[in-house]
Symmetry: D2
Subunit: 304 residues, 4 copies
C-alpha cells in the first residue's frame, strides 16, 4: 500500500440477506462494481458498513470474503472499531490473516474517554496490532473528538499511518493536517463527500465517501479532476454529488436516512440487497418509489 494512500476508498455497505447472514453474491457484485469504477481501495466495516450492528461472526466472515474476492487488486482496509479492546484486536487478527492491508479504528464508543486516556489506549492497542492503522474520527457517533494534539502524538506511534475524518468540520481537519505538516507519509482521508473536492484541492489525499458504493466513477472522476485542478469538471461533478446528498440521502428520517438511501439505490441498481441490520430497516414501497424517481432525476445511468 502506498503512503500516503490516495484516491477514493468507498466505505462499503455490508450486503445482508438477514440480520445475521451476508449477501455473498451481492458483496461480490458490489466489490466488482466499485473496483471497475476505479477506486483506490475498499474500507469495510465502517459506519456505512453498519459494523456496530453486525455480529462478530458476520464481521469476521465479511473480512475474509472481501479479502478473498479482492485478491490483492487494491488495498483492503478493515474496520476494527469496538467498545472492547480485545474484540478490536481479534478483528485485527482476522484482517491480518485474511490479507487485509490496514485496519481502521474509532475511539471506544460507549464510555467516552478523555484525551490522555485515548492516547494511552492507542499506544496499548498498537503493541499488539498486526497491521498498520488509520485513526477514524467520528464524533457524532463516538461522542469523542481526537484533538489535533492527540493525533499529533498518535501519529508518532509506530504503525499509525493515517486518519479518516468524518466530523464534517473542515476547520478541525485542517488543524490536524497542519499539526502533521512534516509527515508527508501520513494519509488524510475525508468522509463527507460534499467537500471532497475542496479537501483534495489543497492537499488532502482522498475520500472515503459513501456515495462511491453506488457511483464509484463519479467520485473517482471528481477526485481526479480535483487533483488536476480541472475546475470545469469539478463544477459539473460536484453538482451531481450535491444532488445525491440533497435527495437520495434525505428520503428517510433520523440519522440513518443516508444509509437507507445508499442501500436502497444499490438494490435498485441490482447490485445487492437493501436489507439493513437492526435497529434499522429498509425503505418501504412508497419510499422506494420515491427513490426511483430521484434516481431518474439524477440521470443515474450516465453515472454508472
Amino acid at each position: 500500500m502506498k503512503k500516503p494512500l490516495r484516491g477514493i476508498i468507498p466505505p462499503l455497505v455490508t450486503p445482508l440477506i438477514d440480520n445475521d447472514t451476508l449477501d455473498i453474491d451481492g458483496l461480490e457484485r458490489l466489490i466488482e462494481h466499485t473496483i471497475a469504477g476505479g477506486v483506490s481501495g475498499l474500507f469495510i466495516l465502517g459506519t456505512t458498513g453498519e459494523f456496530a450492528s453486525l455480529s462478530y461472526k458476520v464481521r469476521n466472515e465479511l473480512i475474509r470474503r472481501t479479502c478473498r474476492i479482492v485478491d490483492g487488486r487494491i488495498p483492503v482496509l478493515a474496520g476494527i472499531s469496538d467498545s472492547a479492546f480485545t474484540e478490536s484486536l481479534n478483528l485485527a487478527r482476522t484482517a491480518s490473516e485474511s490479507g487485509a492491508d490496514a485496519v481502521v479504528l474509532t475511539p471506544p464508543y460507549y464510555f467516552a474517554a478523555g484525551q490522555p486516556e485515548l492516547l494511552e489506549y492507542l499506544k496499548r492497542i498498537m503493541t499488539g496490532m498486526p497491521l498498520p492503522l488509520f485513526i477514524y474520527n467520528m464524533p457524532a457517533h463516538t461522542k469523542v473528538v481526537f484533538e489535533p494534539e492527540t493525533v499529533k502524538a498518535a501519529a508518532s506511534i509506530p504503525g499509525i499511518i493515517g486518519m479518516k475524518d468524518s466530523s464534517s468540520n473542515l476547520a478541525y481537519f485542517k488543524q490536524v493536517q497542519y499539526a502533521l505538516r512534516d509527515r508527508s507519509d501520513f494519509s488524510f482521508l475525508v468522509g463527507p463527500e460534499e467537500f471532497l473536492s475542496e479537501f483534495v484541492l489543497t492537499g488532502g489525499h482522498g475520500g472515503v465517501n459513501g456515495g462511491a458504493n453506488m457511483f464509484p466513477k463519479l467520485y473517482v472522476n471528481l477526485y481526479t479532476a480535483s487533483v488536476n485542478r480541472d475546475f470545469e469538471t469539478i463544477s459539473v461533478l460536484q453538482q451531481k454529488v450535491m444532488q445525491i446528498s440533497s435527495t437520495i440521502y434525505k428520503v428517510g428520517h433520523y440519522g440513518s436516512s443516508y444509509l437507507k438511501g445508499v442501500k436502497c439505490t444499490l438494490s435498485i441498481l441490482g447490485i445487492c440487497s437493501d436489507f439493513m441490520a437492526e435497529p434499522f430497516h429498509r425503505f418501504r414501497e412508497a419510499e422506494r418509489n420515491k427513490m426511483v424517481q430521484l434516481l431518474e432525476e439524477l440521470n443515474y445511468r450516465e453515472l454508472l
Copy 2:
C-alpha cells in the same frame, strides 16, 4: 423474581486480573460481600460493570460464574446491551442457560436510532428473548433517551417488566412512572444513588447504585429507611452517600472517575482487584493514597 423488583440491586463491577481475564476469587468475594449486605439482586454487565469494554468471552464467563456463585439466593440481572442485535440475543441465551432471572438492555449505542426505530427494535428483539427484560435508559453513553411514550408502548410488549433509569433526570423518570401509573407490576429502578431516598419515598422500587458494591449495607439501610419513611435515619445515611459521591467519585478525571473510585475502594477493602478494562486504568499510587485518606474521613469501617 417478585414483581415489581424492590430494593438495592448493585450494578456489580467486573473484577479483572487483566484486560481479558476475570478475577474469579474477587468476583466470589464481591458477590458474598453484597449478598451479606442484604441486597435484593445483582445486576452484572452494566455500565459500572464495564460491559462495553469486555470481550464476549469474558462477558459470557461472567454471566455463568455469577449465576453459579449466587445459586438462586437472589435474582441475577444480566446486561445484554450491545450495538449488535445478534450479540445481545447471544448474551441473553447464555443468561437464560445459566439461570439468570432477567436481562437488561440499553438502546444500540453507536448509531443513534429514532424513537419509532427504537420501539420497533424492542419489539423484534423480544420475539427471541428467553428472559424477562428491563429497559436501561442511559443517555449520557447511548445518546438516546427512551421517551415516556416509547416506554409506555414498550411496557406492553410481553416480557418487558421494568426499567432502570440512569439519566439523573428525575423529572423525566416521574413522567415515565406517570405514563405507566396503571402498571403496578412494572419495576422502576433508579441509577444515581444521590436521590435514591427521594425516589423510593414517593413510590420508586429501588436503586441500582454503584456505591452498593462497596457498602451494600449503607444503601440497603437507606432504602429501608426510605420505605419506612424514617426521616431521621434517612438524613444520617444520605449524608454518608453524599460524602461518597462528593469525595470517592471525584478523585479521578473525566467520566470514568466514578468507576475508578469504586474499583480502587474495593481493592483497598481487599475485595477484588482494581484492574480496569481498556481504555481506562486504575489509580496510581498518589490517587490511591488520597482514596485511603478519603475512606478514613468517611469512617468507612462503620459502613461495612
Copy 3:
C-alpha cells in the same frame, strides 16, 4: 425576606398585549391570583417569564409594576439575566429602586464561560449589586452548568443567598446542597415541579414551578404536604401535577410547548392574554380546543 426562602415562588409568565406591550390588567390579575393561592414570593423575568425575548423597556416596566402591585405583601425576585454584564446591573438597579427583594441571575448565555471565568464574573458583578442574588442554573438554555465547587465558592461571595436549579438533574442538585451543608441560610429552590415533593421531603426549601401560575394552590398544598410529610396528600396532589406535566405541557411542539401550555391555560382561565413574545406564538384554535378538553379532564375547577 426570610433566609432561607421557603415555599412556592411562581416564575411568573409575562402577560403581553403585543410583542412590546405589557398586559397590565392581566399582570394584576395574575399577581392577585397567585398571592391568593398562598405563594411565598414571585419570580419575574425568568425563563417562564420569557425574559430573554423582552425589550429592556418592557423588562424595566414589568419590574416596576410588579413591585407596585405586590406592594410588599410577599418578596419579589427579579430576573436580571443577560448576556451583557452592564444590562444585568441596570436591571438590578431598577429592581432595587422599585423595591424588589432580590435578583436572580443565570450565566451569560451567548458565549459560554469556563468555571473560573464564571466565578470571577460573579465576584465582579456582586461588587456593584444593590440586592441579594440567587444563582440560576439553567443549562438547557445557557449551555453552562454551575459546577458544585463553583457554587460553593460563589456562596461565600457577600450577597449571594441562594440558588434556583432548573437542570432537572437531582443528583447534581443534591451534590450542590451537600457542598453547602454548613450553610443553613442558603436557599435551595427547584424548578421542575415533577419532583418538587421529593426535593422538599429531604430538606429542599421550595419550588419555582411554572404550573403555580395557573394553579398556585395545588403547588402550595403539595409543598405544605411535603413539609408535613403527609404522604397521602402528596400522592393525590402529585398525580395532578404529573397530569399537568404530561398533558398541558405537551400539546405544542419544540421546547416552547410548556410555555405555550401555561399561557394558553391562563387565557382560558380569564387571567391574562396568551400572547407570546417572538419568536414564539400562541396556540391556534385547534390546539386551544385541545387545551380546553385537557383542562376538563383535569377537573381544573377543583384546583382553583
Copy 4:
C-alpha cells in the same frame, strides 16, 4: 453594496477601555488598519465583536461611530443579533440611520426555536427591517442550526440577501449553497478562516475571518489567490493562517481563547486595547509574553 458581497469582511473586535466604554481611538486605528489592508467590508457586533456582552449604549455608539469613520468607503454590516426581537429592530434602526449597508442576525439564542418557528421569526422581523439582512449561522453559541430548507425558504423573503456560516461544517454549507444554486445574487460568506481558500476555490464569495483584524492583507491575499486559483500562493499563505490558528488562538483556555488571542495581538501591534467585556478578561503577563514570542515565530511584521 454589490450582490453578492465578495472578499474579506473582518468581524471587527470591539475596542474597549472598560466594560462599558469604547476605545474610540483604537476603533479608528482598527478601521483604518483593516481598510488599508484591502478588506471588502466590515462586520461589527459579531461574535468576535463580543456583541452579546455589550450594553445597548455601547452597541448603538459602536454602530454610529463605525459608520462615521468608514464614511462610505466600504460597506458596513452591523450585527443586530439579540434574544429580544424588539432590541434587534432597535439596533437595525440605528444601523439604518447611521448609514450602515446591511445587518446580520443569528437566531434568538436563549430559548431555542424549532425550524418553523425560526422561519416565521425571520418573516416577521423582516416586515420592519430597514436594511438588507444576512443570516448568521452560529450553532455553537445559539444551539440552533438554520437547516438548508429553512435557509432556502428564508432566501425568498424580501431583504434577506446572504448568509454567514460559522458552523465549521462545510458539508452543511455546501448543502445550503446547493439548495440556493439558482440564486446568483445571494452571498455566501464563511467564518472559519482555516478553510477560506477551499470555500472560495469552489464558488464561495468570501470570508468573515477574525484573523483579518490583525493581518487583513494576509486574508485578502489568500482570498485573491483563491479567486485566481494561484495554488502556489495559496499554499504559502494558508500555512500562515494555520500557524495563527494553531498558536495565537490556543494560548488561553475555554472557548474564549481565540478572542483573547486576537485582542492581545491587536494590543501588541499598538492598534487597540485588549480589554475584554465581561465575563472574559485579557491575558495576564505570562500569556502576553507567550503571545509576543508566538508572533515573532510567525514573522508577523511581514504580514502587516
